[in-house]
Symmetry: C2
Subunit: 338 residues, 2 copies
């Protein structure tokens, strides 16, 4: 009833090479330089090759107290935005020779704490929480796992923030400079700070321009095309129809495109549309979407790299704020006065 697979151990290698087990360890750890003769080293390497030996990860972790593994927590992999984050994270982890544990929280905060607690005990050395709100210090009970938080508020962990305020303002100023005044807002009904910021920026941009639209011009919906269609139809059916609409996420823009088509509104001539995200969706839509481009893949890479650096050097990374690009494509144009 022991291990079903019969992996070779360093002991097997030692026997085959005719040396002690500690010598095997030394050689394979590269700490043999002026301690083990070249011939013996070669014998050890040869035996290692013959047996296909690899050090047992759990044993090494137990001994070293480090797993060389980290966990990435995301709210929703099916969103292409987060899939790109994952790609960047995976690349960074592999490059530094760390294993990457994947957890999709599916926006469930309860999972989160359990998962962190469980994994922190010997499975991983640290966590990246990307778009996932970290638990309170107190709920972590004493021990402090290494955590890097991206795009979520936290007073206790190092933070990589995304300049959603700046991006949204730039998008709004673009629309304003094209002459638009009735600019609607299609937001995400989520309490997450990242979405609230976009809403605030929208208000601020209108205020700065001295524009006062009623609440009818602002709707929020689930992150889902069908719900976006419902809300978009309400907005576009307003008596004083908006001439432009800012979507807090590119998936919502899809709903807007569909409703516009359905209502016979041409984008961008009758309606300018701006999105937020930086996913493939912006390229798939026709005309291609003017959007706030968040470098999600680089952010995934950066977050993992920071975490690993923190793990290796033991110095906490400093918080930073990452800027976003605003990219003008075919979905926005000058207001045509009628």
């Amino acid at each position: 009833m022991k291990r079903s697979k019969n992996l070779p151990t360093s002991n097997d290698v030692a026997k085959l090479a005719g040396v002690s087990q500690s010598t095997v360890s030394l050689v394979l750890a590269g700490k043999a330089e002026r301690r083990v003769s070249a011939e013996v080293q070669e014998k050890v390497r040869e035996a290692t090759r013959v047996l296909g030996y690899r050090p047992h990860a759990a044993a090494r972790t137990l001994r070293l107290g480090r797993a060389k593994a980290i966990a990435l927590l995301l709210p929703d992999v099916v969103n292409p935005y987060f899939a790109a984050v994952l790609r960047g994270a995976d690349r960074a982890a592999r490059q530094q020779d760390y294993a990457l544990l994947f957890v999709d929280t599916e926006n469930d905060q309860n999972w989160l704490e359990m998962v962190i607690g469980t994994l922190a005990a010997g499975s991983v050395d640290g966590f990246v929480l990307f778009g996932v709100e970290p638990p309170e210090q107190s709920e972590l009970g004493g021990f402090e796992p290494r955590i890097v938080v991206v795009d979520a508020p936290s007073s206790i962990f190092p933070l990589i923030a995304i300049d959603g305020m700046g991006g949204t303002l730039e998008a709004m100023n673009h629309l304003l400079s094209l002459g638009h005044r009735r600019i609607a807002y299609l937001g995400v009904s989520s309490s997450k700070e990242t979405f609230r910021v976009r809403t605030r920026a929208y208000h601020q941009a209108l205020n700065n321009a001295g524009i006062n639209l009623g609440p009818d011009y602002e709707k929020s919906c689930l992150m889902d095309i069908d719900d976006a269609k419902v809300k978009a139809r309400e907005i576009l059916s307003l008596p004083d129809r908006p001439t432009a609409i800012f979507c807090a996420d590119e998936r919502l823009a899809v709903g807007v495109y569909k409703v516009a088509k359905d209502m016979g509104l041409r984008i961008p001539i009758d309606l300018s549309v701006v999105g937020f995200g930086g996913t493939q969706i912006a390229h798939i839509l026709e005309p291609e979407l003017t959007t706030v481009n968040v470098p999600s893949e680089s952010l995934g890479n950066l977050a993992v790299s920071s975490l690993i650096e923190c793990l290796e050097t033991n110095v906490e990374p400093k918080s930073r704020i990452e800027s976003v690009d605003f990219i003008i494509r075919g979905s926005t144009t000058t207001l045509i006065q009628d």
Copy 2:
């Protein structure tokens, strides 16, 4: 220079509860029923709670020879098709209380063998290879990791196949029954069997219908919108323009839509388009795409569940073939004779 985090151990719990370390283990493993008194059990649980103790994963893995973790290997997470696979896999793993290690091979076969070798040594108990060709037995050197392969050929591992042949034939028959004869094929330039099958099915469907088109009607391209546009333009510029086109992947259909629009061809009136995949892309496109729908999320779930069952019962899952749906949407219509 020991462990930086000070996780409590079962020894700490034992001391606090005033019992031996083995008693703590017994209680927490649920094997204490008629071995430890109820009072002692409660004391142990209380101490566990107070300290926030969790068994150390690496220690347990070392002792038990099982990591309660599996690895999922995918060729490309950024493809929404595989993102859905990942969601299904993640759910299955979490439900069974397994950790999920994520590896994006990015279609690099060299990574593959290294990664499997490394992870098999104590990091994970098994692998799901989804759309990734498994290494040869010989290259695994002696030891046999538990592997479930999805949608890739393998003579030695249990297989979950996808009925790409059936799906493609159904799509082709749909087009044929709508009266189309000049049906072009936009394929993926990859040597993967999953794509070759689609090409074969295309040929077979034409043969069965007694149609003989020249090689000009068949192009392959990279999995990328820009290259798809180039090839789509060549196809749609043919003197006898095809009236329908089968795309071996939904991303390629995006390129076809763009070129069609550019050339003033209306979908589906001037050109019927069929895709393959079952991703969000089919819904984003306008008109929505008629497509071969592969249940990627369920397949991810199924693959992980099979693997875990195999791990727990030690009986190898039997290979199976999963059928796909064909879904008719707005991108195909009856051939308009001109």
